[in-house]
């Protein structure tokens, strides 16, 4: 049977990822032609966030470890790529006391983005091995502590990041097509990673650590490589984000952002690509509409005080309700499968999912 499988029917078996990716790209074209500028902006931002959530899913969803540090790697990628892509003249103005050797560095944007991802991956590779040995609460606190260390470094090392002040002057590069394309590629990549040998071993270590060890899975090893991959996506996504926002400060890579990304992933269901995507859609729609309401309340003068925090408050309540109702997320750790494609191929994979 496997000899007869053409690439097309393989794609049909893994239809979910390809369909979602296609929808993303088609959506970008349709919105770019038909919709207003605000909608295009929201969609672009959604795609960037989706890419970041998928990167988070690669590690957190497959290994089951709550990854606070992720957003720190997004920051590392954002700073690294922005420093590389911004011209020396702008940097001299924007970052007062940057190291002269860094000021002179400049590469085109695409290599800068890739290097941003690689820098994040390299930092992850350097620090992650001991971190991956920890599990449970201690693991969570350590990753949390690592995020704080990264944040303190970003706010204090002003020769590189301009300290707590805003880093501005980054070139605008991320259009709706680039964002949608990046999200689509990440989606397919994250999907195939989940199905790959390494992905399967990480998931085994999540479901039953001791059984996985008994089967010869090096739990620390598989977590380590997955963490590096996830951090690479974080760095790449951070670069793409930076070239969309064009000015940012270390505050953008801290608790609030980490909460948004983790909310997206957990609401949809951390275990699967479909879950991450659905979570990103729901949270984006909610946040954007609440923000409109908040803006309306503040500007219209219906009430005589300023409204702060309504968006976060509502998202937090929604999150608690969903966790009570479905602790594994809306999708619950499985991939959505369309009823009419690929249903005949009941592979070991889908049998595994049905039984879990």
């Amino acid at each position: 049977m496997s000899l007869l499988q053409s690439p097309l029917s393989r794609m049909a078996k893994h239809s979910t990822a390809w369909i979602l990716a296609a929808v993303l790209v088609v959506g970008a074209f349709v919105l770019n032609m038909a919709a207003s500028g605000v909608i295009v902006d929201i969609y672009t931002y959604f795609c960037i966030n989706l890419m970041l959530v998928l990167g988070l899913q690669i590690f957190m969803g497959n290994s089951g470890i709550l990854n606070w540090t992720y957003v720190g790697f997004v920051g590392i990628g954002a700073y690294a790529s922005s420093i590389l892509s911004t011209s020396p003249a702008v940097k001299e103005m924007a970052v007062a006391n940057m190291y002269p050797s860094l000021v002179e560095l400049q590469t085109p944007i695409i290599p800068a983005l890739i290097i941003g991802g690689l820098v994040a991956a390299a930092v992850a590779a350097a620090i992650a091995w001991p971190l991956m040995r920890l599990s449970n609460a201690v693991g969570v606190i350590t990753l949390f502590a690592t995020l704080i260390v990264i944040h303190v470094l970003m706010t204090q090392w002003d020769n590189v990041t301009n300290g707590p002040r805003t880093f501005f002057g980054v070139e605008y590069y991320t259009t709706i097509f680039i964002a949608a394309g990046a999200a689509a590629v990440t989606l397919v990549a994250a999907y195939y990673f989940r199905e790959s040998s390494l992905g399967l071993r990480v998931r085994a270590s999540r479901d039953d650590r001791f059984a996985a060890m008994a089967c010869g899975v090096s739990v620390v090893g598989v977590r380590y490589y997955t963490f590096i991959l996830s951090s690479f996506v974080a760095g790449l996504g951070g670069g793409i984000w930076a070239h969309y926002i064009t000015s940012f400060s270390p505050k953008s890579f801290y608790m609030a952002e980490a909460f948004v990304l983790i909310t997206m992933l957990v609401i949809g269901g951390a275990g699967s690509i479909s879950g991450a995507t659905i979570g990103a859609v729901i949270v984006t729609v909610m946040r954007e509409s609440l923000r409109q309401i908040e803006g309306f309340l503040n500007n219209s003068g219906v009430i005589d005080f300023q409204v702060y925090g309504l968006t976060e408050l509502t998202v937090a309540i929604l999150m608690i309700i969903i966790l009570i109702w479905r602790p594994e997320g809306i999708v619950g750790g499985q991939e959505l499968r369309l009823p009419f494609v690929g249903s005949k191929h009941r592979s070991a994979e889908s049998a595994d999912e049905a039984s879990s």
């Binding site: 709550l66 449970n136 502590a145 690592t146 909310t263 976060e312 602790p327």
Partner: protein, 297 residues
């Protein structure tokens, strides 16, 4: 007399941190849940003090009792409404829930009170200084140390000699077995949350006492301190948490004195690097509890 000053400062800071850490460990010991919302109980107590002080004529001691009670009540309510429904289903879900509760409480204050800091009225004892053994020190330092000693003594008696205390210690060791012995799970867990909130309320009095103001983000630093102290001391032991609090206070003061001025802004990074190193070398903390499954390889 610099040494005497250092000792009193360290003892007072350490006492405060010991209480902070103890409150977190009470819940962690039983549920294995790192409660991110813990810092917000401190905030709730702080705002209770602000509201009672600013809008009612009640005397200060009523304010403090109400503030501590509000923290304990908030802690109990979050257990009842949020954690109770999630905690049996998945560890990660409970963890994320606690973070969501933290965001919820923080933003509720942002929305309903104000994003700006508010001044809190305090009794004059908080701003007076006294001289002990030739050292001039704020009276509140002495009050912190004394309150901590009384509370630690009381909690020790509670945990050692009452049925509830024994049940809680048993639940922290083997929860399932404890339930088989006829102890009601929800009761024990609720009490753990109430004690945790109570301690957060007491911490809040002294915490707010240092700056005499309260803002929506006030809970974050106590939360971090509780993390560090419990990790150093041992996540599974109440004694460990107290020891960790004092060690953290000592470490903090030593770093504050010895780090050169240019490096002082990196102090938090140093603290957390020490924590990470500590976890890697000795994940069970200084004092090992009975439940150890932290490290894989």
């Amino acid at each position: 007399m610099i040494f005497g000053e250092f000792v009193i400062n360290t003892l007072s800071l350490g006492s405060l941190y010991a209480l902070v850490a103890l409150g977190l460990v009470f819940v962690y010991g039983i549920l294995k849940l790192v409660n991110f919302a813990y810092g917000e109980y401190v905030m709730v107590a702080g705002y209770s003090m602000y509201i009672l002080g600013a809008f009612t004529p009640v005397p200060w001691w009523v304010t403090m009792i109400v503030a501590v009670a509000m923290a304990a009540l908030t802690s109990y309510l979050t257990e009842l409404v949020a954690f109770r429904r999630v905690r049996q289903k998945s560890d990660n879900a409970a963890l994320v829930t606690s973070f969501a509760v933290m965001v919820l409480l923080q933003n509720a204050v942002l929305l309903f009170v104000s994003p700006r800091a508010r001044a809190v009225k305090l009794p004059s004892a908080f701003s007076e200084s006294i001289t002990i053994l030739g050292v001039v020190t704020p009276l509140r330092n002495v009050l912190t140390i004394a309150t901590t000693l009384v509370l630690l003594l009381g909690l020790t008696l509670l945990m050692k000699y009452t049925v509830l205390g024994i049940a809680m210690r048993a639940a922290a060791d083997k929860f399932t077995t404890t339930r088989l012995m006829g102890v009601q799970a929800n009761l024990v867990i609720s009490f753990a949350f109430i004690i945790s909130g109570f301690l957060a309320g007491v911490v809040s009095i002294f915490w707010v006492g240092r700056s005499a103001s309260v803002d929506p983000l006030i809970g974050f630093t106590p939360l971090l301190i509780a993390f560090i102290a419990t990790v150093i001391g041992g996540m599974n032991s109440l004694v460990g948490a107290v020891a960790g609090g004092y060690v953290y206070g000592l470490l903090f003061n030593i770093l504050s004195i010895t780090l050169p001025a240019s490096m002082i802004s990196y102090r938090d990074a140093f603290m957390f690097m020490i924590v990470i190193l500590f976890l890697l070398l000795r994940p069970e903390g200084m004092i090992k509890g009975n439940y150890t499954e932290e490290r894989v390889g």
